[in-house]
Symmetry: C2
């Protein structure tokens, strides 16, 4: 099966770009991290392995990853860009706990279908959508945890 790293190499080759140690390191860190990391978090983790890498390279490489289809930039509404893995992962929506920040990827086929219907009723053909559900998870409810409400 084709690995994500292969997709990246193909993209690099197809566009006359180059494979560099920095790019490989960043891709590796990103692919093995999993979650929804900010550029800052990625930068920190990259520096843990190679302190000489600059922030700009992380930004530039993440843009490359997005273009190549490996990553997707998401915004939760707090003004910072986050990246999630896209290659080989199905579309999903986000369920976010406002108390602890937990972020679950969810999917409901029925909702997906109704979204298409809704758009069609207005004469639209959908190309994509974003759905963020904000709430409090069971654990935080019993802990009584709070957190300043996000800007919305």
């Amino acid at each position: 099966m084709k690995q994500a790293i292969d997709v990246f190499h193909e993209y690099i080759a197809r566009n006359g770009l180059k494979v560099t140690p920095q790019r490989m390191l960043i891709v590796e860190v990103f692919m093995s991290a999993g979650g929804h990391l900010t550029t800052e978090e990625l930068y920190e983790r990259v520096k843990a392995t190679d302190p000489s890498v600059g922030q700009a390279t992380v930004y530039r490489t993440m843009k490359l990853l997005c273009d190549s289809g490996l990553a997707k930039e998401v915004h939760f509404g707090d003004g910072v860009a986050r990246y999630e893995q896209k290659y080989g992962s199905k579309h999903h929506d986000h369920l976010i706990c406002e108390a602890c920040g937990e972020n679950i990827e969810v999917l409901d086929d029925e909702i997906e279908r109704l979204q298409e219907d809704l758009a069609r009723r207005h004469g639209y053909v959908l190309t994509s959508h974003r759905m963020y559900l904000f709430g409090v998870c069971g654990k935080c409810r019993s802990d009584g945890k709070r957190r300043p409400p996000r800007e919305d």
Copy 2:
């Protein structure tokens, strides 16, 4: 029936704030504009009436409007905050045309219900959500219009 402007006055009074010409002008511009304006757009329109108003005042007043429940800050993913009217308007989601930028407010009760269900299945209690549907409207499809894809 209670007008939006009354809500603003009450909020002002309740919090020991003051009614100023700048604030009234900004509220007026915002309430009569309707759409989903950015701070920049609001600022331009305000300046058309009173060129002496500063950007900072627009930012500060919009924050006030949000706190008072008249406005709501929304993010479509392009890094700029937009404001929509909230008072007297029901919750809704957004259907956005990627070609012409048209933005329709939509609502589907069935989807709303399923969102609650979905969250509950994961042990969450929902407090709010955001749903943006991106596509191409009927008019733009027949015109064959395009526009660079938004960052997503």
